[in-house]
């Protein structure tokens, strides 16, 4: 599946959240969306996920404007996940992950099929959350919750996953852990993967393409070794960076406070 975002602008009331954004997203690759708070990362992900419609421009999935797909088709193809789950009623982890199977279910069938349960069971084993399934959502830790969220995204059997800040609230081990899982499934299932991140170091380690947003516009787009090493990063975030060369032309980025740049 190929997703093309063509000159998309988005307005909330009269405030511009995205300004003339164009992108091409390919399967099997992790695209990271970076940018300071309020740069439009979440807006971009929500537009691609069809949760918000673009005010101008269009998004094409396999060459077809995504507004021409019906809601259920679209729901099966694209999975968008927020970094938290709203918990107003005491739902279990299994209840939550099973909601991802709803687009695949026929309205006349009251409960889920064995196939739905099998998909969830297999994913739970692979992501090592099988022991959490019977727990209430508010009794799992942040690290476990992110794996639950990844499982929810994958349980749809989607062709694109859009993850908003999957590494938020996690310690360094879980950050790597989550991104390893994302990378594994992106390659295994040939997914179009888009991840909004704050952590530049993590982005430099795992992303194939980086899109840098500032005030709703794309200010840089390209390989991590190009985008992250440029002065655009320093200008956009108002920080300093140090680049460490790793093997295979990979780079690791260490952000520094601006005052210590010299």
């Amino acid at each position: 599946m190929i997703i093309e975002v063509e000159s998309v602008s988005l307005y909330y009331d009269s405030i511009e959240a995205l300004n003339d954004v164009s992108l091409r997203l390919e399967p099997g690759k992790i695209t990271c969306v970076l940018g300071p708070n309020g740069a439009g990362k979440t807006s971009l992900l929500k537009v691609i996920a069809a949760i918000l419609w673009p005010s101008q421009g269009a998004v094409y999935i396999d060459g077809k404007d995504y507004r021409l797909y019906n809601a259920k088709e679209l729901a099966k193809m694209v999975a968008y996940e927020e970094p938290f789950i709203s918990r107003s009623l005491p739902m279990t982890v299994l209840d939550f992950i099973l909601t991802a199977r709803y687009p695949h279910q026929n309205g006349l069938r009251y409960l889920e099929s064995d196939e739905d349960l099998k998909v969830v069971e297999d994913l739970a084993k692979e992501l090592n959350i099988a022991h959490l399934l019977s727990r209430k959502l508010d009794s799992v830790s942040s690290g476990e919750l992110q794996r639950v969220i990844i499982a929810h995204a994958l349980a749809k059997k989607p062709r694109a996953i859009l993850l908003d800040e999957p590494s938020a609230f996690l310690d360094i081990k879980y950050r790597f852990d989550i991104m390893e899982q994302v990378k594994k499934y992106t390659i295994k299932e040939n997914l179009v993967t888009v991840v909004a991140l704050h952590d530049l170091h993590l982005a430099s380690m795992y992303c194939d393409t980086i899109i840098l947003l500032n005030n709703g516009s794309v200010v840089a787009c390209g390989k991590p070794s190009d985008v992250l090493t440029s002065s655009v990063i320093e200008e956009t975030y108002g920080i300093g960076i140090r680049v460490i060369e790793l093997d295979h032309g990979q780079v690791a980025i260490i952000p520094l406070p601006k005052t210590r740049k010299e």
Binding site: A50, K72, E82, I85, S88, P90, M91, Y102, E121, A124
Partner: protein, 345 residues
């Protein structure tokens, strides 16, 4: 793991449906046997289930069946309303009574009776008026809550404000109506506290029809599944292909119809809509709406039937005349409300 867990939940729900239905039937027999004259439970049982009846028992059962079934149906409708509105409000403390739907419905009825007293004769017109009042109450409460910041606390506080105000208004209007309509058998005090004493068989039939339509609409519209998605937030509902705004509006309309129907027949019965979904989630061990709607419906009927039996007993053993059903549900429900406020089930 997932498979076993789910099978266990479904098995538990099946056993519950079975045992709750039996309990419901037992309560039906008990309810029919109690009244100004007590007939033996054995006689009622053989009358209802075995079709072997002496004339006296048959006549008494026929006379009492309207009140008994009405009390069951009111409980079922309120429990369904409560389950739906808790999901739509994303708040386990929401309830048609607490959110102001019941008292605005009663106010609408009171205004209509004052303006056009003839409406008392037509159950259907009363029901439509009541539904409009209930929906207006929902809109008013959500509007106030949004203005106050839209948190779950502001929703409950707005609901209590609306309930308090319109309870007062409806009592005032019904009091005026009472003096105006002195000739008719019209007891506004019973409407305000919810009583099945004046229920006729036509009421039970109307409530049953509305319950049946409500259940069919719920199934065809796939409401329980949609509510499961909805409680996790608008984004999640949208990315599963549902439209959260139309979902919440349609659900509020359904709740207003169910609640409005109850209010037009028995008046305000509070707390069943709150307590039944809580008990349902607790005993079913899940919050999956596909399961809790069924269990909650049964629990609501049982609670309402039991409360009505208690109200009847109080009327028999105390020389103060008719005790309204709503008094009993308030006495049981209000402490439950304060407990569930602290402890989330």
């Amino acid at each position: 793991m997932a498979m076993e867990l789910r099978k266990a939940v479904i098995a538990r729900a099946t056993i519950l449906v079975f045992s709750l239905t039996i309990l419901l039937l037992i309560l039906l027999v008990v309810s029919l046997s109690i009244g100004s004259s007590i007939i033996s439970i054995k006689d009622v049982f053989s009358c209802v289930f075995l079709q072997e009846c002496d004339r006296v028992t048959l006549n008494i059962v026929r006379y009492r069946i309207a009140r008994s079934t009405t009390s069951f149906l009111v409980g079922a409708l309120l429990a369904l309303s409560g389950t739906f509105i808790q999901a739509v409000a994303r708040n386990p403390l929401a309830e048609p009574y607490i959110l102001g739907l019941s008292s605005t419905a009663l106010s609408a009825i009171a205004i209509t009776i004052l303006v056009y007293p003839g409406v008392i004769v037509s159950r259907i017109s009363l029901m439509i008026v009541s539904f409009c009042g209930a929906f207006a109450g929902y809109v008013l409460t959500t509007l106030l809550s949004t203005l106050a910041g839209g948190s779950s606390l502001s929703l409950i506080l707005s609901g209590i404000a609306v309930t308090t105000m319109f309870s007062g208004i409806s009592y005032m209007l019904l009091y005026v109506a009472q003096t105006k309509l002195a000739g008719l058998h019209f007891r506004p005090d019973l409407m305000l506290l919810g009583s099945t004493a004046s229920a006729q068989i036509i009421d039970a039939q109307i409530l049953f029809t509305i319950l049946a339509i409500g259940i069919i609409v719920m199934y065809v519209y796939d409401l329980p599944r949609k509510l499961n998605a909805y409680v996790f937030g608008d984004s999640l509902a949208k990315q599963l292909g549902y439209n959260p705004r139309s979902l919440s509006t349609i659900t509020a309309l359904i709740v207003s119809i169910l609640t409005g129907a109850c209010v037009s027949v028995v008046g305000i019965v509070g707390f069943i809509g709150l307590v039944a979904p809580h008990i349902a989630r607790l005993i079913a061990g899940t919050s999956d709406h596909r399961i809790t709607v069924i269990i909650s419906l049964l629990v609501g009927s049982i609670l309402s039937a039991a409360a009505d039996i208690a109200a009847k007993m109080m009327s028999i053993y105390m020389p103060y005349g008719e005790f309204p059903l709503g008094i009993v549900t308030s006495i049981i429900g209000a402490p439950f409300f304060s407990i569930s406020d602290n402890k989330r089930w």
